[in-house]
Symmetry: C2
Subunit: 324 residues, 2 copies
């Protein structure tokens, strides 16, 4: 089993690779090779019995993508994207990386011919939905994004469905909730603060909260994101019919609830490191995002959510302790 | 007022041009020039005071599209497409004409810079929707096409929304019902028979009905299609918010109801020219199409439907009499 991971240097990509190397098998087959690709070369420790090829390159370069697919990976994870804030600021770059890259990937797979139909797991986003919403958004609700990032993801979903319907690829698109708590540094995503207000105070640092306490959002832990990817890679796709893309289960929590969970787990002193500093640009972007979902379709085919936001915080603290 | 029409040689494009030349003004301004573009050069009679430039070319050629937009039309109608059956049979051609052409058009408009923001009316299709459906499909229902044609139209809608949101263009996308009765010859659209079973018997010829009598479909007359275009070109787009694409009002009729309307208008002898010859390929495509809509959003902003299917047939007969 050869596995190609696009966006392998990102937080979710690195966790996925750790998991694959720990499991050593997937879908009942031994993992023999992992091709790890990103805009910067992924750093991956050597592993017995698994050939690891880590490369840096441009996913919006047609020849680069073709060369990766020419190795005929049995399974492909496409996690590569520039984030929402950057895609909104740089219109050309957003379409190039987030949409053209996917088009090249699908075309490279199709060009391999009839005997090649790999599983392709694509990370989409709840940003494909835009206000006004129904109260709990179902999988039959209109994708009407209010950002270029969401538009690019929605286009990729349509392409994944059509290429799967035509039998060129065996695609599964998973709309990730906002991943909280992301380890490391803030990034350019407009959603970065959702992690920041937990991560920084726990690390003894001040965090900026740019939106109101009653902002409600749909979140999942990094561990859940990896579980979603593993299940999407191994599930029976016949049950999906022509609709290959699903909203992943998450927790719908308000900022106030997040803060109270942080207080429950870590106390007042930690919570007091959150500083409120409203940012009109971020408030406007976040106001266009969905707040709550009915993820019963994903649950009915085996995906499951985190149990509570306090548990997400505790898992983050435990992971940071291991990381040292 | 300079107007660019892409797909000007098609049935709807020719009727639109006739209408524009008859009106001489649009949105309160005098029409001074019409650039008419299609894969074959549109045949347009000279008209006092209006400069007509009819050109043949490839809408999926970037330089061609750029040259058309460089003339800075105040209003653009993008009607050009290859039909559903052809897009399903020729995957590459479908994406090239139906999606890449739109991308080049939007990019050419954006490249003109901040002082240029033309109204762009784009003809989408109810083929953006795919089974399973809700009973009456609303404008918040998921676009989950079951054809490549529908996928291409859905991608164009997403792009039109995003480019409009960013202020690069002032777009309106109208999802046309199946146009019945189309004059002339059958085309490669899988929906061609909906017109054929009315048009051919009225002309004294046999028509093939490839689907069952209980097939239900969403239709509008050619005259309504032109009304939709004229209204989309002149309406206040502020009322649309970020959702620039609408399902046009139509009539939801079964094949049996169409045939009974034909009998009412033209008698048994005409109806007897319809020959039932089921075609599994067409039946499968049509089974994936929507049957009924709640078009109240479009109605609330001034679009309106035909009154009855018998009226549609009578209008066709009257138009054929004029045509000789």
């Amino acid at each position: 089993m050869r596995i190609l991971i696009l966006g392998a240097a990102g937080m979710v990509g690195r966790r996925l690779i750790d998991r694959l190397l720990a499991e050593k098998t997937i879908a009942g087959e031994v993992i023999t090779a992992i091709d790890a690709f990103d805009v910067v070369a992924p750093q991956i420790a050597a592993s017995d019995g698994v050939t690891i090829d880590a490369k840096a390159g441009d996913i919006a370069d047609e020849a680069t993508v073709k060369a990766l697919v020419d190795k005929r990976p049995d399974m492909i994870f496409h996690l590569a994207a520039i984030v929402s804030g950057e895609a909104e600021a740089d219109f050309d770059k957003g379409y190039r990386i987030n949409q053209q890259g996917m088009s090249y990937l699908l075309e490279a797979i199709r060009a391999e011919g009839e005997n090649y139909r790999p599983r392709l797991v694509f990370t989409s986003s709840i940003a494909v939905f835009g206000a006004p919403f129904e109260d709990k958004i179902t999988d039959t609700f209109l994708a009407a994004p209010l950002t270029s990032y969401g538009t690019q993801k929605a286009i990729c979903e349509l392409l994944l469905n059509d290429y799967s319907r035509k039998g060129f690829v065996d695609g599964v698109g998973i709309r990730l909730p906002t991943i909280v708590v992301r380890p490391g540094k803030p990034n350019k995503a407009a959603s970065s603060f959702f992690s920041g207000i937990i991560r920084e105070p726990l690390a003894g640092e001040e965090a900026i909260l740019p939106v109101a306490d009653d902002v409600q959002h749909w979140v999942a832990s990094p561990a859940s994101a990896v579980e979603f990817l593993m299940h999407a890679a191994t599930m029976d796709t016949d049950v999906l019919g022509a609709r290959r893309c699903l909203t992943m289960p998450g927790l719908s929590v308000t900022i106030a609830e997040m803060i109270e969970a942080l207080r429950e787990v870590a106390g007042d002193e930690v919570v007091n490191r959150i500083r409120r500093e409203p940012d009109a640009v971020i408030e406007k972007i976040v106001a266009g995002w969905p707040r709550d979902f009915d993820a019963s379709r994903a649950e009915s085919v085996g995906f499951s959510a985190d149990k509570s936001f306090a548990d997400i915080i505790r898992a983050h603290i435990a992971a940071e302790a291991v990381r040292g």
